[in-house]
């Protein structure tokens, strides 16, 4: 599979999906004009990746999204649900979500995503990355 890389803009995050080391990161604010259009290639890549993913491989997803508008939240929920389904079929997926300690709303937003999912989901303040 090929690496997926999308450069950040003011209203879209940097996306870095590396199938070589099974590390995936989404970093930056997200409030594009059309969130569904922006995230569509990301969904397509993820579907293909999860399909070929072997059960014993550990996948790490790193999120650092200081601001997410509502239509991007909808896309993130769809994205996380795909990962949750993969987790339920026995794939090893780990979410690490980072937020700014000063920003309660960002923490609440992460907690609300986590609430409805069953996969391992860590929420950490920024500055404590590995």
């Amino acid at each position: 599979m090929e690496t997926l890389y999308i450069e950040a803009t003011k209203s879209t995050p940097e996306i870095q999906f590396d199938p070589g080391n099974n590390k995936i990161s989404i970093k930056g604010q997200s409030y594009p004009e059309n969130a569904f259009k922006f995230y569509e290639p990301v969904f397509v890549w993820m579907d293909a990746y999860l399909k070929q993913l072997e059960q014993e491989v550990v996948v790490e997803l790193y999120f650092n999204m200081p601001y997410i508008n509502t239509s991007s939240s909808k896309c993130m929920m769809m994205f996380l649900e795909k990962l949750d389904v993969a987790h339920q079929t026995g794939k090893k997926i780990m979410i690490r979500w980072y937020y700014d300690r000063e920003n309660e709303t960002a923490l609440e937003c992460a907690e609300e995503f986590k609430e409805d999912l069953t996969l391992p989901f860590e929420i950490n303040p920024l500055g404590e990355e590995p």
Partner: protein, 181 residues
């Protein structure tokens, strides 16, 4: 009519308006203004959390207007609607607010009125439940939005959302929304 900026400024100040933009919204204008709003609030003594909420409500309101204009592009009043946007950020004794307005076709006002009534009837727990339901609902890729914006604004608001419709003629109303952080 003579352009009297002094009078205009007095009106803005008397309403507590700190920043305002009137005209056609593009994604670029929304992004630039959004940054300006954030930078401006950083110089005021408000918490980072309130700044975040003002920014977030500003983005949802302006993107809602932008999306509504996009839906109406091919309608007869499309141009008129696209040029009718206005957004303001201000401060009164109740705190900071984001207020915006735009023209709407009469037939679209009914659904919006009932959505707003429903949202204002809910407490924070009810709003969270409604937000989650809407978040998980399947919607198509070409849908203009997720239907979450107003619910999200109400969740971040410190007071009930205020709104008004001013009837212009048989076809158009001017819709105003005001949300306090």
């Amino acid at each position: 009519m003579d352009l009297n900026l002094f009078e205009l400024q007095k009106t803005l100040q008397s309403c507590g308006i700190l920043i305002s933009f009137s005209g056609r919204f593009s994604q670029e204008i929304i992004e630039e203004l959004g940054d300006a709003v954030k930078k401006y609030l950083e110089t005021e003594s408000i918490s980072q959390n309130d700044t975040y909420n003002v920014f977030s409500i500003f983005i949802e309101q302006t993107q809602n207007i932008k999306k509504y204009s996009a839906v109406k592009t091919n309608c007869l009043g499309g141009e008129k609607i696209a040029n009718s946007g206005i957004v303001t950020i201000g401060k009164t004794e109740y705190g900071h607010f984001v207020s915006s307005g735009n023209l709407m076709e009469s037939e679209d006002t009914y659904a919006l009125t009932s959505t707003l009534a429903r949202i204002n009837s809910l407490d924070k727990v009810g709003l969270k439940k409604l937000y989650k339901e809407q978040l998980k609902k399947d919607i198509s890729v070409d849908s203009p939005g997720a239907g979450l914006g107003l619910i999200d604004m109400a969740r971040k608001a410190s007071r009930p959302i205020e709104h008004s419709f001013i009837r212009l003629d048989n076809e158009f109303y001017f819709f105003t929304l005001k949300v306090y952080v």
